[in-house]
Amino acid sequence: MPTFPTDAWFQAFVVSINGSEEYRAAAEDWEGDIAFLVQAEPDVHVPDDVWGYLDLWHGTCRGGGVVDPAMGERAAFLLSAPYSRWKAILLGELDPIKGMMQGKLKVRGDLPTIVRYVRAANELVRLTGEVDTVFPDEG
C-alpha cells in the first residue's frame, strides 16, 4: 500500500484516474498538467515539501509522479496546502472546493478553466479516496 505523498502513491493515483469513466466524461476536453504542492509538516513525519504532478489530457492521465519543484512550478495549474490539509481531503473530511473558498487550499492557474471543469476536479478528488493509502503520521 503506497504512502502519501510518495511517487508510488501518485502512480497508484494515475491508475485510479485512468480507470474512471466518470472522470473521462467530465474532463473529455481538459488540456493541462496539474501540480500538487504538499507543504512540509516535520512534526508529522513530512520533513520536506513534496511536488506531485499529473499530466492530464482529454479525460486521461498520461503520467505522473513526484517531481522537482522547478517542474512543478511550470505546471499550468497548481494546488497547494500543508500535508495535514491534503490528508483531510483524501479522507473526505475536507471538501476541496469548500477548502478553496476558505483559503485552506490554494489554487493557481487559469481560474475560468478551473471553474468550467469543477465536476472533473471533484471527481479527481473523489478518486484519491480510492487509492489505498498509508499516511506517514500513522505508520
Binding site: 471538501d95 472546493i97 469548500k98 477548502g99 478553496m100 473558498m101 476558505q102 483559503g103 485552506k104 487550499l105 490554494k106 489554487v107 487559469d110 481560474l111 475560468p112 478553466t113 471553474v115 468550467r116 471543469y117 469543477v118 465536476r119 471533484n122
Partner: protein, 135 residues
C-alpha cells in the same frame, strides 16, 4: 467572519478566487462590467465566507465579507457557486437549452441557490453572471 466592506488582513479564499476570476475575465473581455449601484454579495454558505463586488474607477472592486448595502445577495454551497460561474449563459442567465443551465435553474427553484434581489435587480444579476462567467 467579519462583515463589512474590505479588510487590510489577508483576503479569504473566496475573495482571492472571485478576484482572480473577475480579473482574468476582464482581461479576456473588457466589456464586462458592473454599473453604478451594482453592489453584490456572494456567500458560500457551507464555508461561512462571503465576498462583495462593486464598481470602482479601475473596474470592479472585490472585497472580503458581506456588504450591508448589497442590492443582490447570492447564497449557495461552494461547489454550486462555481457551477454557476461555469454554466453556459443566455442573455446573462443560465441557459435553459443546456443540461448544466437547466440544473442551475432547478437549483434556483429548489432554493439550493438563493438570489435576493433577483426580480427587482435583474439587470444587476445579469451583469454579475456575465462578469463571473467562465465561458
Amino acid at each position: 467572519m467579519n462583515p463589512g466592506s474590505g479588510s487590510v488582513a489577508e483576503p479569504s479564499g473566496i475573495t482571492e478566487l472571485i478576484d482572480g476570476l473577475v480579473r482574468q475575465n476582464l482581461r479576456r473581455d473588457p466589456t464586462r462590467r458592473l454599473l453604478p449601484g451594482d453592489v453584490v454579495t456572494i456567500e458560500a454558505v457551507d464555508a461561512d465566507v462571503a465576498v462583495s463586488l462593486r464598481p470602482s474607477s479601475g473596474g470592479v472592486a472585490v472585497v472580503d465579507g458581506r456588504d450591508p448595502g448589497a442590492r443582490v445577495v447570492v447564497s449557495a454551497a461552494s461547489t454550486t457557486l462555481l457551477e454557476l460561474a461555469g454554466a453556459p449563459l443566455r442573455f446573462g442567465l443560465p441557459d435553459a437549452f443546456t443540461g448544466d443551465g437547466r440544473a442551475l435553474i432547478a437549483d434556483l427553484f429548489t432554493k439550493r441557490i438563493r438570489v435576493r434581489g433577483l426580480i427587482r435587480h435583474l439587470g444587476t444579476v445579469r451583469r454579475l453572471t456575465m462578469l463571473l462567467s467562465a465561458r
